[in-house]
């Protein structure tokens, strides 16, 4: 009877330990991944800023993503970081597309 109890307890402790380790590992991986996404978003923002094409909310999104990461809300942080990265890329592309001055066709030069 006593032997069975010890076995049950050991089994339970083992399961608990392994699941905690798995969880911690998952947390580490997610945090590192999200940090990478945030870094990528910041690089994209900087690239856009260098050509004067940064959008209004990109840096705010990155700041918010960092705060969410610190809170442990990895999913929301990753989502926001991806959104910010997209804004950075689009801002850069927009500035590149506007490199040449095109005067509006409705302005009539005599």
């Amino acid at each position: 009877m006593h032997k069975t109890k010890v076995l049950k307890f050991s089994l339970l402790a083992g399961i608990l330990c392994s699941s905690m380790t798995t969880l911690a590992l998952a947390d580490d991986v997610s945090a590192a991944k999200v940090q990478k996404l945030i870094d990528a978003a910041d690089s994209a923002r900087k690239q856009a800023a260098e050509v004067g094409g940064e959008w209004r909310d990109t840096s705010k999104m990155i700041k918010k993503a960092k705060a969410l990461l610190e809170k442990g809300d990895f999913v929301a942080a990753a989502k926001l970081a991806n959104k910010a990265a997209k804004q950075g890329h689009l801002g850069y592309e927009q500035a590149m597309s506007q490199k040449e001055l095109t005067l509006p066709s409705y302005l009539h030069y005599e």
Binding site: G52, R56, T102, P104, H108, Y109
Partner: protein, 279 residues
């Protein structure tokens, strides 16, 4: 035949490119810009464009005229006069920097050949303060608006006459940079300044009439009811950029200085009427 078609297509494409990338002189730009508004609003007297949206919105004008009976910017003019007359810690005043003052608004912006940059009035005022050991003023909000209100009030009636000196190619470069800024799409909404204030001037955006760009620079600084105070032209540039969801540039940094140079040049010939009152 195919060969001929290809050649023709190439020719048409090349011609299109040349037309879109053609260089225009400031004088040509000015003529095209002002003629656009005269054709767009044939019933508006040219001089009335200094009144912004109130030149084209009769209901808004009535409200504005009522507001002008007790101008909300008046206390700022008084404060500005006190600032102008008050000596700095070293005993000197603004008058020592600007002997022709206080009616000096019409001299700005101008090309400063020595510094190789566009000199704006707020920048010159801060240069004066720094030269006299005073802390520079903030460029968007606060006391800078008082002294600008006083100077602008004293300068009412002066004619906008921005010059682009031909003896310094850098001046033309600054003008061109300002022009490029004006026609460049930016921000998440993908708008340029021209989209709202040239192409769509007079149209309604939500509840507001989009003001024509012609005359945009004459009435600054401006008391905006939305702000509940007087604000500078570069504060307005910042607001416009934010509205199209672009990150604004530094007030009196190179981008906005050049923009002011171009935009003020476009209002050449119009009288100054600052400070103004707007919604």
């Amino acid at each position: 035949m195919k060969h001929l078609l290809r050649k023709l297509t190439l020719l048409v494409m090349t011609c299109g490119f040349v037309a879109s990338a053609q260089a225009t002189t400031p004088e040509e730009d000015l003529a095209a810009f002002q003629s656009f508004f005269k054709k767009r609003f044939p019933n508006v007297e040219t001089q009335d464009f200094i009144n912004g949206a109130y030149a084209i919105d009769p209901v808004g004008r009535e409200n504005w005229e009522a507001i002008e009976e007790f101008p909300p910017y008046e206390p700022f003019i008084d404060e500005g006069q006190a600032m102008w007359e008050a000596p700095f810690a070293n005993g000197k005043t603004y008058k020592d920097c600007f002997p022709d003052g206080p009616a000096i608004r019409g001299k700005y912006p101008h090309w400063d050949k020595e510094k190789g940059m566009v000199m704006t009035l707020p920048l010159a005022l801060n240069n004066c303060r720094k030269a006299n050991g005073e802390k520079p003023l903030k460029y968007k909000k606060g006391p800078i608006n008082n002294i600008l209100s006083y100077i602008s009030y004293e300068s009412r009636g002066q004619i906008t006459n921005v010059e682009i000196p031909s003896d310094d190619p850098k001046a033309l470069e600054a003008y061109e940079a300002g022009k490029k800024f004006y026609y460049t799409r930016r921000g998440q909404l993908n708008f340029s300044c021209a989209h709202c204030h040239l192409q769509n001037a007079g149209m309604i955006l939500r509840t507001e009439t989009l003001s024509p760009a012609l005359g945009h620079t004459t009435h600054f600084p401006v008391y905006r009811s939305k702000w509940g105070t007087v604000g500078t032209l570069h504060r307005r540039f910042t607001g416009c950029n934010k509205q199209v969801r672009a990150k604004p540039f530094k007030a009196h940094g190179e981008e906005y200085r050049n923009l002011e140079y171009f935009l003020t040049y476009m209002s050449n010939g119009l009288p100054l009427n600052g400070p103004g009152a707007r919604k």
